[in-house]
C-alpha cells in the first residue's frame, strides 16, 4: 500500500466563514507486505483519518492512495473488488461496529455469501467456524447465535478480527483495537494479531495513542508519529523509542508513566514543552505547527515548515534542528 502526497481536510464554519481544517497534510508512506507499522499521536492528530483513507472510506483531496501500484479511486470491477477485500478494518468500538439487530452469524455470513466466498449458509458456517477457532472463540456456535449486546468487549473485538480475516485480506487497519478492552486481556488480542501477521503475511496498520502496546506489537516494525495531521517522524520502533529526536516525540516518551513505584522519583518532574494545550485547529501557527510548544524553537521554525527528511543513523524526521538535537548541541528553552 502506498500513500503519495495524500491530503484530506474537513470543512468547518467559524461564524460566517467556512474554513478548511487540514486533517491530513502531505502524507507519504509505503507499507510492505507482511509489515506491521504503528501510527501514534494524540487525539486530533489525524491518525484515524489516515486509517480511513487507507481503507477507502475517505477520498484524498490531493495526492493518491495506491494499492499494488494502482490508484484505488480509479479501480473498477474485478480489480476494485481485489482492493476492497484486500484491505480491511478493525474498529475501536466493537459494539458500534456490529449490527445490533442481527445475530453474529447473520452479520458475518452476509459478505461471504455476497462475494461468493461461500455458496450457502452451510459453507459460510464452515468458514466462520474455522476462523472463530483461530481467534480463540470456542465453541463457535455459542458466539455465532448471539446478538452483539450479549457478548463482552473482548469477545466482540475477536469477532471483528475474525470478520476481517474471513475475506482473506492483505492488510488490516486496526484503529485502537484494544483501548476498550480490559487490561488483562489486551495482550492476548495483540498476540493474536501478531500471530495472524506471521501466519498469513497480513500487514497491519496499528493506530494507537498508547506507546507501550505499540512497542509490544510492532517490536520489529516501524512507527510513524503524527502531529496535527503531519508526519513528524518515521523510524524503526525500537530505535525511535531509545533515541527520540523530534522534540514532540521526546515529550511523548517522557510523559509515559512507569508503573514501577521505585522509579517514581525518576518520573519526569517537568515535561520539555512550553505549553500545555494544542493550538486551535482553525487557527494554526505558521511554519512548524509544533513551534508554540517546542523548547528548541528558533526563528526558522516560525517561518518555514520542516519537511520529512532522512537523518544519518536512520529514520525520517520533520524538524529543522534534528541534527543539533541528536548531537546534544541544542539547548532547550523553557518559560
Amino acid at each position: 500500500m502506498e500513500l503519495k502526497n495524500a491530503s484530506f481536510s474537513f470543512e468547518a464554519s467559524q461564524g460566517r466563514e467556512k474554513k478548511k481544517i487540514g486533517a491530513l497534510v502531505d502524507i507519504n508512506l509505503s507499507i510492505e507486505e507482511g509489515e506491521i507499522i504503528t501510527v501514534v499521536g494524540e487525539s486530533g492528530c489525524g491518525k484515524t483519518t489516515l486509517g480511513k483513507l487507507i481503507a477507502g472510506i475517505y477520498k484524498p483531496a490531493e495526492g493518491q492512495v495506491l494499492y499494488k501500484g494502482h490508484d484505488i479511486w480509479k479501480l473498477r470491477g474485478k480489480s476494485f473488488k481485489e482492493y476492497r477485500l484486500g484491505v480491511q478494518m478493525v474498529h475501536q468500538d466493537s459494539y458500534a461496529a456490529l449490527n445490533p439487530n442481527k445475530t453474529i452469524f447473520q452479520s458475518l455470513s452476509l459478505p461471504l455469501r455476497q462475494h461468493k466466498i461461500a455458496k450457502n449458509s452451510g459453507q459460510a458456517a464452515d468458514i466462520l467456524f474455522q476462523y472463530f477457532n483461530e481467534v480463540g472463540l470456542n465453541p463457535p456456535e455459542i458466539f455465532l447465535e448471539k446478538y452483539p449486546h450479549q457478548l463482552s468487549g473482548g469477545q466482540r473485538q475477536r469477532i471483528l478480527l475474525a470478520r476481517a480475516l474471513s475475506v482473506q485480506p492483505k492488510l488490516i487497519v486496526a484503529d485502537e483495537p484494544v483501548s476498550m478492552v480490559d487490561v488483562s486481556l489486551r495482550l492476548s488480542l495483540l498476540n493474536l494479531m501478531a500471530k495472524m501477521n506471521r501466519k498469513y503475511r497480513i500487514s497491519f496498520v496499528y493506530i494507537t495513542h498508547d506507546l507501550s502496546t505499540a512497542r509490544y506489537i510492532a517490536s520489529n516494525g516501524r512507527i510513524m508519529v503524527m502531529y496535527l495531521g503531519r508526519q513528524i517522524a518515521l523510524d524503526k520502533i525500537q530505535h525511535a523509542i531509545e533515541h527520540p529526536v523530534h522534540p514532540y516525540f521526546q515529550a511523548l516518551i517522557k510523559a509515559v508513566p512507569d508503573p514501577n513505584p521505585k522509579r517514581r522519583s525518576k518520573y519526569a518532574p517537568e515535561l520539555p514543552l512550553r505549553s500545555l494545550d494544542m493550538p486551535n485547529l482553525l487557527d494554526l501557527p505558521s511554519g512548524c505547527k509544533f513551534n508554540p510548544r517546542c523548547p528548541y524553537c528558533v526563528r526558522r521554525c516560525i517561518e518555514e515548515e520542516p519537511r520529512l527528511r532522512k537523518l544519518e543513523g536512520g529514520g525520517l524526521i520533520a524538524c529543522h534542528r534534528a541534527e543539533e538535537i541528536m548531537a546534544g548541541t541544542a539547548k532547550p528553552q523553557m518559560p
Partner: protein, 300 residues
C-alpha cells in the same frame, strides 16, 4: 473420524435452525400482557373479516322487522330496511380492514422510500425530497383527502387505500430520514462498506432492521388513522363506495334511521362505532409491545 464429522454436521445445522427470529418475536409479544390483549382483539377482527363474508350471506330486507332493538333473532337489532345489524357489521369488516391495511401499507412504502433515499443521498436529492415532504406536512391532510376523494373515482378498497395514503406518509418519511441520518455514520455501516457489501444490501440488512420497530409502530397508527379518515369521508358522503362498510352504516344510521334522535336504532349507530374503537384499541395495544419485540436488546 466419520462419526465425528457427522456429529459436527448435525451440530452445525442444529445451530442454523435454532436461530429463529420469528419465534423470539412472537414470544415477546405474547409475554407482554398489553400487547397480548391487542393481538387477540386484532385476530378476532381478522377472523371476522376473512371468515365472515364466506360464512354469511347478504342480509335480507324485511320491512316488517325494521328498526328493532337487540333480540334473540337479531343480536344487534335491525336497520331501517330490516336488515340484521350484526350481519352487516361482519360483512362490512372486510372492506374496512382492507382499506386500512392498504392505506397503511402504501403510506409506509412511500415514506420508507422518501426517507431512506433522502437520508442516504444527502445534497440536492435530499433537499428536493424534503421540500416535497414539507409541503405535504404543512397542508392539512383531511381537506386534501376530501378533495381527492371527490376527484378520484374510488371503486374498490385498494383505490380507497391509495387516496387515504397520498397525504399521510410525510410525517413518517421525515422521522425515517432522521433515523437514517443517525445511523448513516455508524461504525457498522462503515464496516459493511469496507467489506464491500452492495448499497442495496446495506439498506436491506443494516438500515431497515434498525428502523423496523419505528416502521411497524407507525404502520399500526397509520392504519388507525385510515379507519377514522375512511369513516369520516363516508359519513360526509364524499365517497360513493359500494359494498358494506362501517362508515356507510354510521352514515345510514344518522341520516336514514335517525339514530341519535332517540329511535330504537341507536344500536345500529353504536355497533360500528364501538367496533372502530375496539379495533383501534387493539392496534394501540399491539403496538405497545412491538417496539420491545423487534429490538433484540430489549427482548432480553
Amino acid at each position: 473420524m466419520k462419526e465425528k464429522e457427522i456429529n459436527r454436521e448435525t451440530e452445525r445445522f442444529d445451530f442454523l435452525r435454532r436461530s429463529n427470529g420469528f419465534r423470539d418475536f412472537a414470544s415477546s409479544i405474547w409475554q407482554n400482557q398489553l400487547s397480548r390483549v391487542g393481538v387477540i382483539i386484532l385476530l378476532f377482527f381478522l377472523c371476522m373479516a376473512v371468515l365472515g363474508p364466506i360464512l354469511l350471506k347478504s342480509p335480507a330486507s324485511d320491512y316488517m322487522d325494521r328498526l328493532e332493538g337487540p333480540s334473540s333473532k337479531h343480536w344487534l337489532g335491525t336497520d331501517f330496511a330490516g336488515k340484521d345489524t350484526l350481519v352487516q357489521l361482519v360483512l362490512g369488516s372486510r372492506d374496512v380492514l382492507l382499506v386500512a391495511f392498504f392505506a397503511g401499507l402504501i403510506a409506509v412504502v412511500v415514506a420508507c422510500f422518501m426517507g431512506i433515499v433522502s437520508g442516504l443521498s444527502g445534497g440536492k436529492v435530499d433537499a428536493i425530497l424534503m421540500l416535497i415532504t414539507n409541503v405535504v406536512i404543512t397542508i392539512p391532510s383531511f381537506p386534501v383527502t376530501m378533495i381527492l376523494s371527490m376527484v378520484v373515482s374510488i371503486d374498490n378498497a385498494f383505490m380507497f387505500g391509495v387516496v387515504l395514503s397520498l397525504w399521510s406518509w410525510a410525517g413518517l418519511a421525515k422521522a425515517i430520514r432522521s433515523q437514517v441520518l443517525v445511523i448513516k455514520h455508524s461504525d457498522f455501516i462503515e464496516a459493511s462498506q469496507i467489506l464491500g457489501i452492495s448499497k442495496w444490501n446495506i439498506i436491506i440488512n443494516d438500515v431497515i432492521p434498525n428502523i423496523s420497530s419505528y416502521i411497524a409502530v407507525n404502520f399500526i397508527s397509520l392504519m388507525k388513522n385510515a379507519i377514522m379518515s375512511s369513516v369520516g369521508l363516508m359519513y360526509l358522503g364524499l365517497v360513493p363506495f359500494k359494498g358494506n362498510h362501517w362508515g356507510m352504516m354510521i352514515q345510514m344510521s344518522l341520516t336514514a334511521s335517525g339514530a341519535l334522535m332517540g329511535s330504537g336504532a341507536v344500536v345500529y349507530f353504536l355497533a360500528p362505532v364501538v367496533s372502530i374503537i375496539l379495533f383501534q384499541l387493539g392496534c394501540y395495544l399491539f403496538a405497545t409491545g412491538l417496539d420491545t419485540a423487534l429490538n433484540p436488546r430489549l427482548r432480553g
